[in-house]
Structures are given as structure tokens and as C-alpha cells.
């Protein structure tokens, strides 16, 4: 059963820092081959302004967990609150922006109109829409491409447009599902830096799914290592880098140490028999 825990409700009223609170959450998919446990006994708390990465091999349930937070999947048991509300209430209040693995831009809309899509649905005025589209395209360095159609942009630019679209809603919480997974390493590094600056500037809370260790360690205040069959949390690692870090920190001993701990965690959690 899903229930809003009294503690989280009080926290929300007091305006405390807890954005996501998950306890003993499990999710079982009914498939034609019988039930598959995607998530098992997940406990996770995310504070305001954190950047949390979920990392793990395929099938560890990291995307499913993100979709549960977004109310795109319904858990079988356990409790979860988003901003002190149930996920579906949070979704109805448009508490989060979601960035998918693929840009999922609508091909018949120009870049500006794609970014304006959620704003149209929210019923904002034309001036307000225009202002927000400009501001967020500026944030992701896409000024000058407003009138282009998605196919006229590179993959990296398309994904940046989809980030602008998620930010346009102006949510406190940004949920990102392997947004840079399909891009090459150089573009990915660049976008990682941009995303970090964006996070530092806007003070948003980010939950970020990835299977790249350097990406997770570089971006995150907290790395959540997950393991498959059933999907569960294996380890939670605090990173503690400065908010305005650059890619150079990847050469520091501290970075390598954390990356090693993540790698070991992934290896231990792996259930394959070699």
C-alpha cells in the first residue's frame, strides 16, 4: 500500500530539505513468464539540492526506480513521497521535469515550440511561454536554433533541447534517465560540465540514472550503487566534491578512490557466475 508518511507531511509543511523519501519499496512486474521482481526493499532519502546518481548494470531497476518517482510505474509495496506528496499528486502538481534516454522531441514542432510544449499544457500566457523558452534555451546554449526542426540538430543538441524542455516547467526536481547514454564521450564530457554548472546555478535537485562510473562520480553528491535480480541498493557513497568542480577533478586521488569503490560495489553486486 502507498501511504504518505506523517513525518514527510510534517517536513513538507515545515519546508525542510527532504525531496524524496523512499522506504521498503518493492515492485513486481507480472509478465507472461511469471512475476519478475524489479525492485526489492529500496530505502533512499534525497535532500534538497542534492545530485544523486543511480548506477548499476542493466536490469538492476535503476530506470524503474526513477519511473516510480515520476509516477510512471506503481510500486507493489512500500512507501514513497515526493515533496511530501504521493508520486501521483506530485506529478499532477508538475513537481518534476523528466529527461528521457532519447530526446523524444516532437518532429513536427520547432525547437522553440518543443520547449514550449509543457508550458502550453500548463496553460501559460503567450508572453510567459516566450520568456521561459528564451531563458531555458539560453541555459543550454541553444539560442539561434529556435526555428529549427529537431532533425536539423545533432544528437547532443537535441538532448540539450530536451533538457531545456524539462527545465522550462521550472521544477524543483529533475529526473534524468541516461540522458547522455547515446552520445559520444567528448560530447558527453561537455554536457556533463554544462549540466553541473546548470545544477550549481539553479540549485535544483537531480536524480540521474547512468551506467558510466566517471559520469556518476563526477556529477554526484551521492552515488547509489544498485545490483540486479532483484533490483536493490548495494551501496550509497557520498562524494563531497566542491559544487563548482571541473572535469580536472577526475585526475585527483579522491576521485579515483570513489570510482574504485563504485566499481567494486558493482562487481560484488553482480550476480553472474564467471
Amino acid at each position: 500500500m502507498l501511504e504518505t508518511t506523517p513525518k514527510a507531511q510534517i517536513d513538507a509543511v515545515k519546508g525542510t530539505a527532504r525531496v524524496i523519501d523512499i522506504s521498503r519499496l518493492s515492485l513486481t512486474f507480472e509478465t507472461s513468464d511469471g512475476p519478475v521482481q524489479a525492485l526489492s526493499e529500496i530505502d533512499l532519502a534525497i535532500e534538497r539540492g542534492e545530485f544523486v546518481s543511480l548506477i548499476g548494470p542493466s536490469g538492476c531497476g535503476k530506470t524503474t526506480l526513477l519511473r516510480v518517482i515520476a509516477d510512471l510505474e506503481t510500486p507493489t509495496s512500500g512507501a514513497i513521497t515526493v515533496n511530501g506528496l504521493s508520486p501521483s499528486e506530485a506529478r499532477l502538481e508538475r513537481a518534476y521535469g523528466y529527461v528521457f534516454q532519447a530526446p523524444a522531441l516532437y518532429p513536427w514542432r520547432t525547437i522553440a515550440r518543443n520547449v514550449a510544449l509543457p508550458l502550453e499544457i500548463m496553460g501559460l500566457s503567450k508572453e510567459e511561454r516566450k520568456e521561459r523558452v528564451q531563458r531555458n534555451l539560453d541555459l543550454v546554449n541553444l539560442i539561434g536554433f529556435e526555428k529549427r526542426f529537431p532533425w536539423q540538430l545533432s544528437g547532443g543538441m537535441q538532448q540539450r533541447a530536451s533538457i531545456a524542455r524539462a527545465l522550462a516547467v521550472d521544477p524543483e526536481l529533475l529526473l534524468m534517465d541516461e540522458p547522455f547514454g547515446a552520445l559520444d564521450e567528448i560530447v558527453r564530457d561537455k554536457l556533463n560540465e554544462q549540466l553541473l554548472r546548470l545544477w550549481n546555478k539553479t540549485q535544483k535537485t537531480v536524480v540521474f540514472v547512468t551506467h558510466s562510473i566517471p559520469e556518476a562520480v563526477f556529477l554526484s553528491t551521492k552515488v547509489v550503487v544498485m545490483s540486479p535480480r532483484p533490483g536493490r541498493i548495494h551501496d550509497i557513497i557520498e562524494c563531497g566534491f566542491a559544487r563548482d568542480r571541473t572535469l580536472e577533478i577526475r585526475e585527483t586521488p579522491r576521485f579515483l578512490e570513489i570510482a574504485n569503490r563504485v566499481r567494486n560495489g558493482l562487481r560484488q553486486g553482480h550476480s553472474y557466475v564467471d
Binding site: A70, D71, L72, R91, L92, R94, Y96, G97, Y98, F100, Q101, A102, A104, Y106, P107, W108, R109, T110, L117, P118, E120, I121, M122, F149, P150, W151, V169
Partner: protein, 302 residues
């Protein structure tokens, strides 16, 4: 541009474009047609000369088979002459003018196309939004297309006549009967074409069903819709012609075909047939132009 460059440019366009291959095929068909016309009309022509006790040469025979009044297969130039006469020489108000008949057919076609497309889209929207409607409606929609329209048309005319519905409406109804089907099938496919990611996106915005329809499903269905409309507009014309064979007193290409077959006027039949085909091609072309304009605006054209 010099004339020489202009000429070579034209040749290049001819060889590279679509016109040249089409012209080759047309020439080939015309050649076969003339040979066919000669052999099909040969015995009639021989009998004619024999009855008149007239001696004839090979060239007389060829000339004769190409200029009969009621040939089994008219030669292409005979059809062209008939079209020229009935389109350009006769007054458009004359009952023998193909312009007059074409207008009658096009009116029924366009009304039928409008009704059929609207009905087709409406059915598609209903089917996509209610699974029960798909199960209950789809079998009937498919069954409707298995009934030969030529058998159904007279009944529709008679039944509507019973309710004092006459004139263009029964013909447009038969035309709509043929044209709604491709629109329904294409539009259902188009409305279901958004991928799960695009639909999830709408869910994260807490979009209503109406918003999801107008901002996602409807625009996504546009390319599918236009492909269907091209089929539907041609089917509308076929429907109108079939209806006119039942309701021939109002005129139209169908009435021309019917009258031609009563009196063995093969040239008239073929002329009406070609005029109808040209009209269908023109209608499809207009839809294609509209398709291109809309696709360009929607960024589908690269």
C-alpha cells in the same frame, strides 16, 4: 541562358527526371494498342468490304480498322478526337459535353469525399479512444468493404428515394461509402503511431486526454492521413461513377458509360473512361500538393 545550353538542360531534365521514363512506357503502350486495335477490328472491316463487294489493299484495311464508327477497340487517336470534340468543341451546357458530365461527377465526388473523410476520421478517433468500440465496430467496417458496391448502389438509391432524398446526396453517399474506409484504417494507424516515450512525456506533464490528442496523436497522424486521403479521393470518384450508372438521369461519367454501352458507342465509353481517369489523377495530384505544403510546414520534408 543560351539556346544551346537550354536545349542540353532540357535533355538532361528529360533523361534524369520522371517524364522521360513515363513517355517511353506511354509510347510502348500506344504501339501495342494500335496493333491490338488492328487485329480486334480486322474481321469487322473484312466483312464490311465483303458486303460492299469491294476490293481492298492492306493499307485500306489498316485505315479501315482505325476509323470505324463502332470499333471493338477504338484506336487511341479516335478516343483523343472524341475527347477533343466533347470537351473543347461542344458547349459545356450540352448533354453530350464531357465538361458537363465531369462537373456532375466531380460534385458528387467532392461531397462524397468530404463526408467519407469526416466519417473516416471520426470513426478512427472513436476506435483509438475506446477498446470496446474497436471490437464492436471494426468487424462491421471491414465487412462493409466486402460487399460489392455495384450491388449495393441501387439499393442505397432506392431506399434514400423512399425518404425523398434525391439528387446529389445518394450519389455522394455511395461515394462516401467507398472513401471512408482507407481514411479510418490510415488514421487509426496514425493516431497510434506515437512511441511510448512521447506518450510518457505527456504523462509527466499531467496532460489531459484532450491535450494528448491535439498536441501528440493528431499531429503524429497527419502523414498517415494524407496517404489515406490520396486513396480515398480516387475511391470517391469510383463511387460517384458507380452511383451514376444507377442514377443515370442526372448525367455524369457513369451515365455516359452506361449510355455508350447501350448503343455500342465504344469510342464514347473509352472517352468517358479516360476523362474519369484524368479527373481522378487530378484529384490525387491536388491532395499531393496539399500534403507537400502541410509536410513542409510541419518539418517532415527534409
Amino acid at each position: 541562358m543560351s539556346t544551346e545550353r537550354g536545349a542540353s538542360f532540357l535533355l538532361e531534365r528529360l533523361a534524369g527526371g520522371s517524364a522521360f521514363p513515363i513517355l517511353v512506357v506511354v509510347g510502348f503502350i500506344l504501339a501495342i494498342w494500335y496493333v491490338g486495335a488492328f487485329f480486334m477490328n480486322l474481321d469487322l472491316q473484312r466483312d464490311k468490304f465483303a458486303n460492299a463487294n469491294q476490293a481492298y489493299s492492306m493499307s485500306d484495311l489498316i485505315e479501315g480498322t482505325m476509323s470505324q464508327e463502332r470499333p471493338r477497340l477504338p484506336a487511341p487517336h479516335q478516343i483523343a478526337q472524341e475527347i477533343d470534340k466533347t470537351v473543347f468543341e461542344l458547349s459545356p451546357t450540352s448533354k453530350r459535353s464531357l465538361v458537363y458530365h465531369g462537373e456532375v461527377t466531380l460534385q458528387a465526388t467532392l461531397l462524397g469525399f468530404a463526408i467519407g473523410s469526416a466519417l473516416g476520421m471520426l470513426l478512427a478517433v472513436m476506435i483509438v479512444h475506446a477498446a470496446s468500440l474497436e471490437r464492436s465496430l471494426m468487424p462491421w467496417i471491414i465487412a462493409s468493404q466486402t460487399i460489392p458496391i455495384i450491388a449495393l448502389a441501387p439499393m442505397i438509391v432506392v431506399i434514400m428515394n423512399q425518404f425523398d432524398v434525391t439528387g446529389i446526396v445518394p450519389k455522394a453517399t455511395i461515394s462516401a461509402y467507398l472513401s471512408f474506409f482507407p481514411v479510418t484504417v490510415g488514421m487509426v494507424k496514425g493516431l497510434r503511431s506515437p512511441d511510448p516515450l512521447q506518450l510518457d512525456l505527456m504523462r509527466t506533464y499531467s496532460a489531459s486526454r484532450l491535450q494528448t490528442f491535439f498536441k501528440l496523436r493528431a499531429p503524429a497522424s497527419v502523414p498517415f492521413l494524407f496517404a489515406s486521403l490520396k486513396v480515398a479521393v480516387a475511391a470517391s470518384l469510383v463511387g460517384a461513377v458507380v452511383a451514376e450508372m444507377t442514377k443515370s438521369e442526372d448525367g455524369g461519367f457513369g451515365a455516359r458509360l452506361l449510355a455508350g454501352s447501350y448503343y455500342g458507342q465504344t469510342i464514347q465509353i473509352w472517352a468517358a473512361l479516360f476523362a474519369a481517369a484524368l479527373c481522378a489523377a487530378m484529384l490525387v495530384w491536388i491532395v499531393t500538393i496539399a500534403d507537400r505544403a502541410v509536410s513542409k510546414r510541419m518539418g517532415y520534408v527534409r
